[in-house]
């Protein structure tokens, strides 16, 4: 085939209209509503009529301590879940790629919760975290440790839900780290073995060379953390009071109350938050990856 023919052959073999079905569905049901959100967030909106009120919804949002605590909780939740997932999943992935005999079984056990309904997980842990008869406090009491009210204490509820989130999502983080570790050339591990034990392997081989996996885990769990809803709604409904409200639960509450404009403003705040945090993070990670 002559070189000049190539572009025309490409045009014929890989037609652009193959994008069309996906583009229509994605455009109509994702892009259009996202664009509409910017307009409707500036209105008092009943779905039948929308009155333009400028930035009033945002002023309400930023002036309301309950809504602002939702914003703060969202960030705490995302930072905590993504941090803990990295801290726990990286050593776990090392264990599951080492030469222990039960690794096949352990991989399956750790991954399974990923596939289970978040609502079901939330209900189960609400019971296990029950303050007086729940399994967790029964065990803590038996070994003489304090028995906190995991979901009933306003200072603790958000963190308790975040822990359950880590439990459920650990499987994905671990699989990503396992992929990262398995792609490290074997010679590095050989060298680490001659230099010292597991710590050398962890500190000087896995941490630097599985860096891309770390970035992927942080990004994915950060995005997931900012958008979390199911678990919070099942376990606390944002309570006690508004102690564990996050942006998505605020959006749902405003929607239920019929404040569609305000709800949509919350959605735009979430959109901006995600974009402002995730895009620079992604660019930073990309630059770091190019450096190596």
């Amino acid at each position: 085939m002559a070189h000049d023919d190539r572009p025309r052959a490409i045009l014929r073999t890989y037609p652009n209209w193959f994008y069309l079905p996906a583009a229509i569905v994605f455009g109509v049901f994702f892009i259009v509503p996202t664009a509409m959100a910017f307009y409707f967030s500036l209105t008092r909106w009943t779905l039948f009529s929308a009155t333009f009120i400028g930035l009033d919804n945002y002023v309400t949002f930023l002036g309301d301590p309950m809504l602002m605590s939702g914003l703060r909780n969202t960030i705490i939740y995302a930072v905590m879940t993504s941090g803990l997932k990295v801290i726990i999943a990286l050593p776990l992935a090392m264990l599951l790629t080492s030469n222990i005999r039960v690794k096949g079984l352990l991989r399956s056990i750790v991954f399974f919760p990923v596939l289970v309904s978040t609502v079901a997980v939330g209900i189960t842990f609400s019971m296990l975290m029950q303050p007086s008869v729940g399994l967790i406090n029964t065990v803590l009491g038996a070994i003489g440790l304090p028995q906190p009210d995991w979901l009933g204490n306003p200072g603790l509820a958000l963190y308790s839900v975040a822990l359950v989130d880590v439990w459920k999502g650990l499987g994905i983080a671990t699989v990503i780290f396992m992929a990262g570790i398995l792609s490290i050339p074997q010679e590095y591990f050989e060298a680490a073995r001659l230099e010292g034990g597991a710590w050398v392997k962890f500190r000087y081989v896995v941490i630097p060379l599985a860096r891309n996996a770390t970035f992927t885990v942080i990004l994915l769990s950060f995005i997931g953390g900012l958008r979390t809803f199911d678990l919070i709604w099942t376990m606390t409904r944002g309570g006690p009071g508004f102690a564990s409200d996050v942006l998505t639960s605020v959006i749902y509450k405003e929607y239920q109350a019929g404040f569609y404009g305000l709800s949509t403003a919350g959605n735009v705040v979430l959109f901006i938050l995600v974009t402002v945090i995730v895009y620079p993070l992604m660019r930073f990670f990309n630059r770091m990856e190019l450096d190596t």
Binding site: T124, I176, T234
Partner: protein
């Protein structure tokens, strides 16, 4: 002597099996135990052996409760999952194919939309407004369209990564033999994409089957109930019937368990492949 050697050889295995087993399996044991109890026994909320085993009776009661509500929910969830996943696979494979092969400016634009779809949280109320306007609000078709739109970016990511391993020479050979683009796609590319398709089918069916937010906003009403939402109505309707609530949890956990047993190996390796290349 021999015992010491055995301990030294196996202690990591035993300790990790014990810790991971307790942390990850005990919650499921609790679900099963509570689902097997009588109403009074389950109301104590303790982690204990049932006084009387009633798992089968409880499951039957959950399935038939409220005019076979659970059966209807499972049926709705099945239709929702099958419809969405079929479209996701077909549409995403078409995009991944052209995008990876052309790799031009337009493909880069498509790629940035894909990234946006992975990151941006969907705008819920405007979507309801739009669905109403299209006459698709509170319909299964409407929810299917929304699920397809939300799930395609990840599916395209996985499939595009895999497309790179299918040699271009295969398409060229088919074209020289006179195959149309449609034919190249359906009889050459699609069969070879199989491993990526399995990954996408499993991940997106699990996500959509378990989806709570989508049906909550876009498919309200008891006629349209889907499986995860039955849990919610159980919480509000029987605050004291924990045995039935957990029997419901058992029902909706069995399905991913079956999927898991069948596709376990492909699932983990497929996700690992996507993670490295993507």
């Amino acid at each position: 002597m021999r015992i010491q050697k055995l301990i030294r050889r196996y202690w990591v295995d035993v300790v990790s099996l014990l810790v991971i087993g307790v942390v990850f399996i005990v919650p499921f044991v609790f679900v099963l135990l509570t689902a097997s109890k009588t109403r009074q026994d389950a109301a104590l909320l303790t982690f204990s052996w049932p006084k009387e085993f009633r798992l089968i009776e409880n499951l039957r009661e959950v399935m038939t409760w409220g005019d076979n509500r659970m059966v209807r929910a499972l049926w709705n969830s099945t239709l929702l999952t099958l419809g969405s996943v079929t479209l996701i696979v077909l549409f995403s494979a078409l995009v991944a194919f052209v995008m990876q092969r052309r790799a031009d400016r337009l493909a880069a634009v498509v790629g940035s939309f894909m990234l946006a779809g992975l990151i941006i949280p969907p705008a819920v109320v405007p979507t309801i407004f739009l669905l109403q306007w299209l006459g698709l609000y509170k319909t299964l078709v409407g929810l299917i369209m929304v699920e397809v739109a939300y799930s395609m970016p990840f599916a395209i990511l996985i499939m595009r990564a895999f497309m790179g391993s299918i040699p271009r020479e295969l398409d060229e050979a088919a074209v020289i033999d006179g195959a149309s683009p449609m034919r190249v796609f359906f009889s050459v590319i699609l069969p070879l994409l199989r491993p990526a398709i399995v990954t996408v089918v499993v991940t997106s069916s699990v996500t959509i089957f378990n989806d709570f937010v989508g049906p909550l906003y876009f498919l309200p009403g008891s006629e349209n109930v889907t499986a995860p939402l039955t849990l919610f109505s159980f919480i509000s309707q029987f605050t004291s019937q924990w045995n039935l609530l957990f029997a419901d949890v058992v029902v909706i956990t069995i399905i991913p368990l079956i999927v898991f047993i069948f596709f376990q190996r492909q699932l983990v390796s497929g996700m690992m492949g996507g993670a490295i290349k993507g």
